[in-house]
Symmetry: C2
Amino acid sequence: MGINPQDKKALSDALARRLPAYYRHVCIMLAEGKQTITSSELAKKVGNTSAQVRQDFFTCGGVENYHPDTLKDWLSGLLGIKKEHHMVVIGAGNLGRAIISFKDFNTDGFFIDAVFDNNLMLDGMQICGIPILPATSLEDYLSANKVDIVVITTPASVAEEILEKSVKCGVKGIWNFAPVDLRSNENIEVQNVHLSDSLLTLSFRMNEKNNWKE
Amino acid sequence: MGINPQDKKALSDALARRLPAYYRHVCIMLAEGKQTITSSELAKKVGNTSAQVRQDFFTCGGVENYHPDTLKDWLSGLLGIKKEHHMVVIGAGNLGRAIISFKDFNTDGFFIDAVFDNNLMLDGMQICGIPILPATSLEDYLSANKVDIVVITTPASVAEEILEKSVKCGVKGIWNFAPVDLRSNENIEVQNVHLSDSLLTLSFRMNEKNNWKE
């Protein structure tokens, strides 16, 4: 069960964005002690239709049944959560600290092993028990340690350089918060997060609602 | 020009998410001194097709021409950027601080006026010049001041209560980072940001690519 490896067409970005929400809500319903989940319940939670939920699950290879345990297990497999992911964070500023202090990650197998910063005053200090290392040692660290995902919270100017070093050292994923669009390529997957985009989407929706009332 | 107020069907969430990316890239191209922008250039930047760009612009009422200035002006109007938005942040932790220290907002007319925290030790202190006020004074503040958007960076347990107080005091938008899905209603628009969803989307894409190679 799972995505047919023969089907080399990448699943749509919209679907790739919906899967984590399905997983999140299945976990919540499981924690609430629900014994069964219907596609319409799940659809309501994520704000789409039950037909869409069933289509999405079918597109991803199909799930045997809608028991919460089965669904969680199946979605975990799809999302790669069953594997351990080792991560490092570049930038020990407010956003880097915020990401490190999220508690959810570890339970899903995402471990932050080190933080890098170009402020040498921080060298040897820790954030939530994670050591801060000098930015100049990043390449040596990536070469010597298994790192799956590099999290970029630096200014835009150095993001591309960090991407290049990461590819060179065999890193497979970039979670980018720098205000620049980095591109995925055959060696590495990139997710760009533009926090202010969601603020503008909110502003658009507020504006849209206001226009209707006029 | 703009969305036809007669058409009361809300534009799709996917389109509402693409508009800020169009705006961001038009601003970048304008800053780079580009004199004209084609729909295919813009499509390439945001990672979709030129047909999709033209369809999106048509759905939103259409734009007169593709000069960067015209496009920026038109998208600004759609996104409500031409209006001032006054915001307060609830929670002076790492994420609250990260949001306050973003410099982009002010240039788009989004102003953070105050931060609220339940740690009384922080009362009277400032973050980047923004005063920290006691959480107990939130409702009084919202009643006495014009606040358009409340930014929630608290634990999930208090997010719903903050939403209710915001609605009661006439706030029109919630930008929610608490790990819970708050719902928009006729009085207020909500954008929920689940940072870990984008990490899981990344992990999904890495897993998908890995499966193809097997």
